[in-house]
Amino acid sequence: MATFDTSDCYVVEGKLALPYTYFAGRVGSTFITTLRDQRKIMGVKCNACGKVFVPPRQTCERCMEDIRNNWVALSDTGEVVNFTVVRYDDKHLPRKAPFVLAMIKLDGADTPMAHIVEGIDPENMTEGLKVKAVFADQTTNTILDIDHFEPVK
């Protein structure tokens, strides 16, 4: 193994602040406000390829169709298409470990969205699990207005 003589080598310590804002745009804003005010999860449909996207987008990137006004209400139930178990704690994480982060394809949608699954032992998680959205008591104007998903009983 190579060794390097690092004696008397100065290391500059620094820290930069990275503040930012993000303009969600009309489409993203409509999704969030509908979720917040009506507890409805909305997608948009591309009339060219028939796909229903959630989270919604202004343009179908494959067909280049403008789909911003093609809103469809989706079911609050869906299916886990993939998942991971988070097994470490960190202050940015939304739950204490271990917890499940899953890709959930809502009934009526063609694309999955990421969210937390609770109410099941992580060791028992399986792809194909049917889940249902549980809405948050308090709004934060974020995707966490869906608090989590839980298995359909």
């Binding site: 500059v12 804002t21 993000y22 303009f23 969600a24 489409v27 987008r57 343009t59 280049m64």
Partner: protein, 397 residues
């Protein structure tokens, strides 16, 4: 300098520009970019299926977005296509145009779309800019990106009264142009009788650099589509030909080669090289319009001399005599230039786009009132970097 003639000719066949603005809360990044993409495709009469490759650029870290080219696929049309991301600071837009030209000229692709964008109100430019300075030699010493260097230089050489009046004349001319350009972010309607007032009441930023002299922070996107000669002639009856382009970079902060090379600016060096290899002996006579990356009125005024290889006070006289106005001898920035709108990653591509529109003759209300056969577009970035591009109406050089 190693340089070879182009492998094949390349034409600009499509142009799209958003309206530039201080805030675009109504669209996210890919949505804003999509506006310019759609416009450029419509302008060319193409669909994304006709585009072989997408080059995408903006300022590094300005929106705090990682790999923005991939994220923006939702609006850029790059899905399933070859794509590159380029980021060269303020010159990004010029680099995008140069790269697109090279990619087509090489034979690698027939049709290349260049996308420049910025949403300056979303990010915090300090995060990106601060990283410019070397952590050991410069970061503890640096000031911001604003400088009154050009003001000091011009005042020293031409006296305070003349320099200040010339800079404000330049500024008012740019505003008069901006007022004709529907895409301008800032167009105030300044009048000549406001000159003395502005020189004393506009808030000073640094020394004689005042707020009124300086460019804005803008949101916006620009898209330019480049095609091989064969394709370009099929796509449009008004292709604008990219004759040549040159890039000159020099780092002038403490870490590299300060004071080691002569103090000639990269603008002048680039201009000399570009004109020499294209046999242009009198650029002021040759070009019909110049779209300059002019971040402030002081810089714009000072740089005219470098770009046209002028002597003494010839550049000051051009401004004093309003020869840089739309109907003057050398119209500069009929678009209103960078002081009118500065979405940085798009800004230099806007210079190319606006120059090309002038050549086509369909720039809109800010079209200059005589035929444009030869156009020049510049980019500026960093501590002193230049990209310079020449556009032509005819394939006859």
């Amino acid at each position: 300098m190693a340089y070879r003639k182009k492998n094949r000719n390349v034409g600009i066949v499509g142009i799209g520009e958003t309206k530039f603005s201080s805030h675009r809360e109504d669209v996210n990044q890919p949505e804003m970019i999509h506006e310019a993409v759609r416009q450029a495709l419509d302008d060319a009469g193409l669909t994304m299926n006709d585009v072989d490759c997408v080059v995408h650029g903006n300022m590094e870290l300005f929106e705090m977005v990682h790999q923005p080219d991939m994220w923006h696929t939702l609006g850029s049309g790059a899905f399933g296509r070859d794509s590159f991301r380029l980021t060269t600071g303020g010159t990004t837009g010029g680099t995008l145009a140069g790269a697109a030209d090279n990619l087509v000229a090489s034979g690698m692709y027939d049709v290349v779309m260049a996308i420049g964008f910025e949403k300056l109100q979303e990010g915090h430019t300090t995060g990106g800019i601060t990283n410019m300075a070397d952590p050991l030699w410069a970061r503890k010493l640096q000031s911001g990106a604003l400088t009154a260097q050009a003001a000091v230089k011009l005042i020293t050489e031409f006296g305070e009264e003349r320099a200040r009046r010339a800079a404000m004349t330049y500024r008012i001319i740019m505003d008069k142009h901006a007022c004709k350009n529907p895409n301008s972010h800032r167009a105030f309607g300044l009048e000549w009788d406001q000159m003395d007032d502005l020189m004393t009441t506009s808030p000073p930023l640094i020394g004689e650099l005042r707020l009124i002299h300086m460019c804005s922070q803008s949101d916006g996107a620009c898209v330019v589509i480049f095609a091989s000669e064969e394709k370009a002639k099929q796509i449009t009856d008004k292709p604008v030909w990219v004759r040549d382009h040159i890039t000159v970079h020099r780092e002038e902060t403490l870490n590299l080669c300060n004071n080691y090379y002569p103090t000639e600016t990269t603008h002048k060096f680039a201009a000399e090289q570009l004109y020499a290899r294209n046999n242009i002996t009198n650029p002021l006579e040759y070009f019909d319009v110049f779209e300059m990356y002019d971040p402030s009125a002081w810089w714009g005024l000072d740089w005219i001399r470098d770009f046209f290889l002028l002597e003494g006070d010839e550049h000051i006289k051009l401004v004093e005599n309003h020869e840089i106005m739309m109907d003057g001898k050398m119209p500069i920035n009929p678009s209103g230039g960078v002081i009118a709108a500065n979405p940085i990653g798009a800004t230099a591509l806007v210079r190319v786009a606006e120059a090309a529109k002038q050549v086509r003759g369909n720039a809109g209300p800010h079209q200059i009132p005589r035929p444009v056969n030869h156009a020049l577009a510049s980019s500026f970035g960093g501590t002193m970097w230049t990209v310079l591009m020449m556009l032509e109406k005819e394939l006859n050089w």
